[in-house]
């Protein structure tokens, strides 16, 4: 494909979002417009609260039982949300279009059979035995299919198999940074003419002890009763409250969307990322510098901000410091820390923020009724609990 000489508009034409709040995008839109509370399970993994996935029927997006059996829950969450996005965009079922649709996923995983792990740990009594037991126990206890659930790229693999998205497939890793890089890369490919249509997103299954362990070795989880991220921050390093989330979007060049008559929610005006060493002040300084590149596109006044703050320090303290700087630019930030309702979803979190910003910025919503007070722009922020910074600017179309 020949690169475009001038940047092309990148439109969001489909959204699939599932979480503890509900199993479609509309429910999420309504939730954040009316604020109807949150869903938390504080006992199952105590002292760690989690936002459990709302009940759903996997077969609605993953019709074959054989496919469902080949996946663990994080993959099912992602495949389900991806299917919703494709259907919303009018791409599902269009074989010709699916064969050209590119796939960009941010994934972690390593989903394990925790019972097998426990059996091994409880049976061995010295380091020398580790290998021995791994050999005698694992070969009979491990399921080959679970190995495929452990590989980060197999969420994308399953999306291709179930939904037939086969243009290309790339998986980015690295906690939140994986999502930042994936979103920025997909945006730039379309903007530059290297791709026309991309399905982007991620998924997190928060209801997993092995996943919690991976975060808690860095003391990144919040312990105890729910508190908003702002209040967690500053208390003993803060912590995040994981939430099961699947968040996918279809993004297209404007020309591609218009040619097929697709309606758009909004356009992505820009996505920018950074990587700081996290010395004191680095994060706020980085977000401010990224924001200044957006500033020419943002009118003075109220600006909805979908803040991806985790509640982990120092990143959340500095997020908040960044928001406090915005009035100096004649911007009145209307900050919504969306993780306080969804839970924090690591690789899926930035995509959930893009989805919420697009849903509420609301071009496609004109199909129903556009909120007359809706702002024309929205900012999405992302700061990794350990590394990585990102900002996205979403704009209403028209």
């Amino acid at each position: 494909m020949t690169e475009a000489t001038a940047p092309r508009e990148v439109w969001i034409t489909g959204i699939g979002l599932i979480s503890s709040l509900g199993i479609d995008a509309d429910t999420h839109k309504t939730h954040f417009e009316t604020g109807t509370g949150r869903v938390l399970d504080e006992s199952r993994y105590a002292p760690y609260p989690v936002h459990p996935l709302a009940p759903l029927e996997w077969s609605k997006q993953i019709p074959k039982n054989s496919d469902q059996r080949q996946m663990e829950t994080w993959q099912r969450i992602g495949v389900y949300a991806a299917g919703l996005a494709l259907a919303d965009a009018g791409i599902a079922g269009n074989a010709e279009l699916l064969d050209r649709t590119n796939l960009v996923v941010a994934a972690g995983s390593g989903e394990r059979d925790t019972k097998v792990d426990c059996d091994v740990l409880e049976a061995i009594h010295s380091d020398d035995e580790t290998a021995l037991l791994a050999k005698s126990v694992l070969p009979s206890a491990l399921r080959p299919t679970l190995f495929l659930a452990q590989l980060s790229n197999m969420l994308a693999g399953n999306i291709s198999i179930v939904h037939h998205v086969t243009g290309s497939s790339r998986t980015f890793m690295g906690e939140e940074s994986g999502a930042f890089a994936a979103a920025e890369n997909a945006f730039r490919r379309i903007s530059s003419g290297q791709a026309d249509v991309i399905l982007i997103g991620g998924a997190l299954n928060a209801e997993r002890e092995d996943l919690l362990l991976g975060y808690e070795i860095g003391h990144n989880l919040w312990r105890g009763p729910f508190k908003p991220a702002q209040e967690r921050s500053g208390q003993d390093g803060g912590g995040f409250i994981p939430g099961s989330v699947g968040a996918f979007l279809t993004i297209e060049s404007r020309a591609h969307a218009e040619a097929r008559g697709a309606k758009a929610y909004a356009r992505i005006a820009d996505i920018r990322t950074d990587y700081t060493a996290r010395k004191q002040g680095d994060i706020a300084r980085s977000l401010t510098q990224l924001f200044e590149t957006f500033l020419p596109r943002i009118p003075a006044g109220r600006l909805p901000v979908w803040a991806g703050s985790s509640g982990v320090d120092p990143s959340t303290t500095e997020d908040l410091a960044f928001f406090d700087l915005l009035p100096a630019y004649d911007i009145a930030p209307d900050v919504r820390v969306y993780g306080d309702d969804l839970g924090y979803s690591v690789e899926a979190h930035f995509f959930a923020g893009l989805a919420l910003a697009a849903l509420t910025t609301d071009g496609k919503g004109e199909r129903k009724s556009r909120n007359p007070g809706a702002a024309k722009n929205a900012l999405v922020t992302g700061t990794g609990y350990w590394r990585g910074e990102a900002l996205a600017l979403i704009e209403a179309i028209g």
């Binding site: 760690y48 980060s152 690295g174 070795i217 312990r223």
Partner: protein, 424 residues
């Protein structure tokens, strides 16, 4: 079209530095000497006891000592070794700063048994069991060192911080195509004009007991344990699976104009990148090969070349019954009758399958093939497979002038990538 652009008007992407680590040794010189002598790096595993396992061989990298040993530590060490060789050759950047982004292919992060065991043992309350005990132990002590190695961004972060690459480091996984995808990301960034240079690395240290058992359970591995160096037999009738292996490959990519401007030596070009995803099966490709064919065609189209221009194929060639047959059939579909004459060899016959690193390592070897005018052989080719009637450069290296190499990488999960690499 100016001198520094291709037929599509995009900046040409040159390679100005390369580095490599495999079971054959550290660096291009040792690797190339071994490859052209037809020497294998596959041996019995000594890293952990293997008695009772179906497969006991691998291409481990034992030349870099990391202490304490862990898979991500070895991945980091190999990536840095390969990258430093590439940076030295390219003479790019200064003062510990590389003037471009890092694109890194690396395996998914996962705590392993020694870490799980350490957590389990350190628990204060030994009456608890299972993951509750692991979590209690994680809460109670400082595990920062473990966290810094076992996050999904860990390897990229360590490498980026050591090499001073610019911006957010990108970690990518397209299974066994990851190394090629990392290169593609770099090529695309340069073509977009975002950067004049990019550092693309693939690294993999997956020879761990559990990974070995898991691949074994998928029936993917060779069980020719008695003669390790003869176990990897791509395209042979008696091939019985791949051999897990470790290594890293690194390439410094630069816009042709940027490289010229600073007087860098150009080692070759990455002219085309192609991908195509398969929707058939989690570990098998579509019987008609359309996804692999698509990736190869896309790479050749992207290079503004025709199939007739390809004069050597650096095969994915894993030595599994399925892959090698599909690779042949797909290549035949793209290049037609020429398939019988175009030489295609598999580096994996000697270094094994380096998984996430393979695409990057094999890109380095493709460039060395062009530079040295020598085709590395496919070794262990004793029993030809009548279904794969190809010139696989059997057993002995061969002199040949090569202008354009097709380098294939196909992954579990249906993620296929191909690169077209050309002479300077």
């Amino acid at each position: 079209m100016s001198q520094g652009h291709d037929k599509k008007g995009r900046p040409l992407v040159a390679v100005t530095g390369m580095g490599v680590v495999t079971s054959l040794g550290n660096g291009k010189a040792d690797n190339w000497a071994a490859l052209t002598q037809g020497r294998s790096g596959i041996r019995s595993i000594t890293r952990f006891p293997t008695d009772g396992l179906r497969t006991t061989i691998a291409g481990t990298v034992d030349t870099l000592k990391v202490s304490p040993y862990s898979a991500p530590s070895l991945s980091i060490a190999m990536a840095l070794e390969a990258a430093n060789e590439a940076l030295h050759e390219a003479q790019a950047g200064s003062n510990g700063k590389f003037p471009g982004p890092l694109f890194l292919a690396t395996p998914p992060a996962e705590l392993e048994w020694p870490q799980r065991r350490a957590l389990y043992q350190s628990a204060l309350d030994k009456s608890e069991s299972g993951y509750r005990r692991l979590l209690a132990s994680a809460r109670a002590s400082d595990w920062n060192e473990m966290q810094s190695l076992f996050q999904f961004s860990s390897v990229a972060n360590h490498v980026a911080e050591r090499l001073g690459t610019r911006g957010l480091p990108t970690s990518v996984s397209t299974a066994c195509a990851s190394g090629a995808t990392a290169i593609q990301l770099g090529v695309e960034a340069i073509r977009r004009g975002e950067t004049d240079a990019a550092l693309c690395i693939g690294t993999d240290s997956s020879v761990q007991i559990e990974a070995l058992i898991r691949f074994s359970l998928l029936s993917a591995l060779s069980t020719n344990n008695a003669a390790p160096e003869q176990a990897s037999r791509p395209f042979s009738k008696n091939r019985d699976g791949f051999v897990m292996a470790e290594g890293a490959g690194a390439l410094v990519l630069e816009s042709y104009e940027g490289a010229k401007r600073r007087g860098a030596r150009i080692l070759g070009f990455v002219r085309g990148c192609g991908e195509k995803a398969d929707d058939y099966h989690r570990t098998r490709s579509k019987p008609d090969g359309t996804a692999i064919i698509g990736a190869i065609r896309n790479a050749i189209d992207d290079a503004c070349l025709s199939p007739d221009d390809i004069d050597y194929v650096n095969a994915h060639g894993t030595s599994t019954p399925e892959n090698d047959k599909m690779e042949y059939l797909s290549l035949k579909a793209v290049i037609g009758d020429r398939v019988a004459n175009v030489p295609m060899s598999s580096n994996k016959s000697m270094i094994g399958h380096t998984l996430s690193a393979a695409g990057a390592i094999e890109a380095v070897f493709s460039l060395l093939t062009i530079r040295n005018g020598t085709l590395p052989p496919t070794i262990n080719y004793a029993v030809p497979d009548a279904e794969i009637p190809m010139d696989v450069v059997p057993n002995v290296a061969r002199q040949a002038r090569v202008q354009a190499v097709l380098s294939n990488s196909f992954g579990f999960g249906g993620q296929n990538a191909a690169l077209v690499i050309t002479a300077p």
